[in-house]
Symmetry: C2
Subunit: 387 residues, 2 copies
Amino acid sequence: MRDVYVLGVGQIPVTKEKDEPLREMAARAVRAALADAGVETADALYTGNMLSGMLSHQQHLGALVADAAGLRGVEAATAEAACGSGGAAMRWGYMAVAGGLHDVVVVCGVEKMTHTDRYETTRALATASDWPNEGAHGHSFVSLNAIIMQEYLRRYRANRSLFAAFALNAHHNAVTNPYALFQKAITIEKYEESPMVQAPIRLYDASPICDGAAAIVLGTAETAAARRDRRPRVRVAASAAATDSVGIADRRDVLAMDGVVASTRKAYAQAGVGPEAIDFFELHDAFTIMAVLALEAAGCAEPGKGLWLGADGEITLEGRIPISTLGGLKARGHPVGATGVYQLVETYLQLTGQAGPNQVADARIGMAQNVGGTGATVITHILERVD
Amino acid sequence: MRDVYVLGVGQIPVTKEKDEPLREMAARAVRAALADAGVETADALYTGNMLSGMLSHQQHLGALVADAAGLRGVEAATAEAACGSGGAAMRWGYMAVAGGLHDVVVVCGVEKMTHTDRYETTRALATASDWPNEGAHGHSFVSLNAIIMQEYLRRYRANRSLFAAFALNAHHNAVTNPYALFQKAITIEKYEESPMVQAPIRLYDASPICDGAAAIVLGTAETAAARRDRRPRVRVAASAAATDSVGIADRRDVLAMDGVVASTRKAYAQAGVGPEAIDFFELHDAFTIMAVLALEAAGCAEPGKGLWLGADGEITLEGRIPISTLGGLKARGHPVGATGVYQLVETYLQLTGQAGPNQVADARIGMAQNVGGTGATVITHILERVD
């Protein structure tokens, strides 16, 4: 396999503004990424998306986005793995370059989910669950995560307020990110006063419904070396995917994130590193409980101890394992099919010293992990600055 | 890149029976393919599907089908390119093996579309069009193909009845295929008497709405060589994808299938053959006009002459370029996200001498082409018997 490099990235601000057509959102991100990469075209485009058929009457986004972005004719298709769709598209793009099938590939993630009725959107999101056994019985991703969070509280006799640190960290990091949906900090008081959406999940434990698009251009070592700018080169040190049962009742344990364990282990093995080498971790904090469980399953904390990383300040930009460094799903926003690509864009910005006030000092290795459902699809990428 | 071999195939009968759960349909095909390949598991599963979110409230099929098929934990995701979704999944699986990422991969295509109201299904299918410019204005794939067929009739002063040969050929070839939806021949009289769905398209010009699932196992040369049976080895000699604008009004010419031209040319170049070397062609005959245009764009006939291949008997099992050898989309059926994989399964059966009464004599090279929309996504695979 060939080494794969990130040539450039593009993103549009996450929004609830509703007015831009789906294809234009995606095309803007793709054009920005191509410009950032300094290339005029690409051999292929893989688009991550989950909801466009249900909410926008539009499937077939691969060819549609390619055409709108000025890439008519190239190979193009859509990758879908629920909220892990962006990561899945990245995995496809990685394979195309690593495997020698293409030299320059664009990976895009796009989602438009604010223009429809909130109940319709929530129901569409529930198609990421095991529908006959979960969604059809009224479960939403809030209710499924409430079950998981409740069990965490019970098993570890955990203090519910400790979850606040994850929301506060995400909001703090989004303040200076111009692409974030919520560019404002929150206090512990505001968190505690926020509505209980579904016990024990408060509003600030959950990521918002929003629209967005992001893109990343991948290429070979030769293409990366040919760039004339002085920006550090960033290599994809690992690309890994694993799955688990979709329905949480089919898992061996409601708190067991076997998909995260398997996906992360594969990624560590490919990159030749362990969790201690990761300088920051763009994890899938769709809910605060998901951030906690991901940290534990990725080996950054023992089971039952992930929650304490927040209280101990270890997840901040200056901490041992910074997470959600530009706002995460909670505050940058979670336009579901686009999220995995936003994570990768932000990882690249950190590794190239472009994270502004949120720069993680001396960041050389960053991990981005995109999750579909409550842990059924887990796609992990490790990016590394190589010069 | 490594050579990629087909290790085995599986399919379930195409049906309108409605009663089997989506995941079970897919799992049955996957298990059949694994058994046929003589392997117990696989490294990854890529599932092609278009409609499950809209018609079955179920996205996230990758992980769901993997679990149902006994492959919990493996890498899994869904590929979507409208009616080209099965071919897109094959393309992903091909990349994974060719690129050295995985040694054994299963590609599955599944669609369940008969359990919902016919109008809802037709509307869901129209999400493969450029929705704001086509579907939203009431266009369906019947009406879009009617426009194209009408222009073909006008431009070439063609005799409408010549299209019958394509429907008759497909139905004739489906008679002895136990997996085909319509195992019965039709006559020219029956074709001419069939209802005019939308002029100039008669019922027998169009493929049916139906359910189905098919799967194919891919592996390396070493895995293929390790098999103990005496079945001929089949190599994937070419895998190619190209796109065109989704909306037909954006094409340079309503009859120009630039996506087919580009995709087929790439495939011929990779396989080192031309159209004359193709022993049979599993083309995307969603409508008779699509079969005619595909033959022309693939270099099997001059523009305006593809229609005559039917009248001259050249598309039959004994003809110069047999098509739809086990019924095609018209008579085997067109469960949209599964179709591309059915085509590949049938291509493999032909090349390994398992096509029964429909065997194309001395078939060594077969081409399968899966199309999304009216030609916007075109994925072409050439399979070759190598011993």
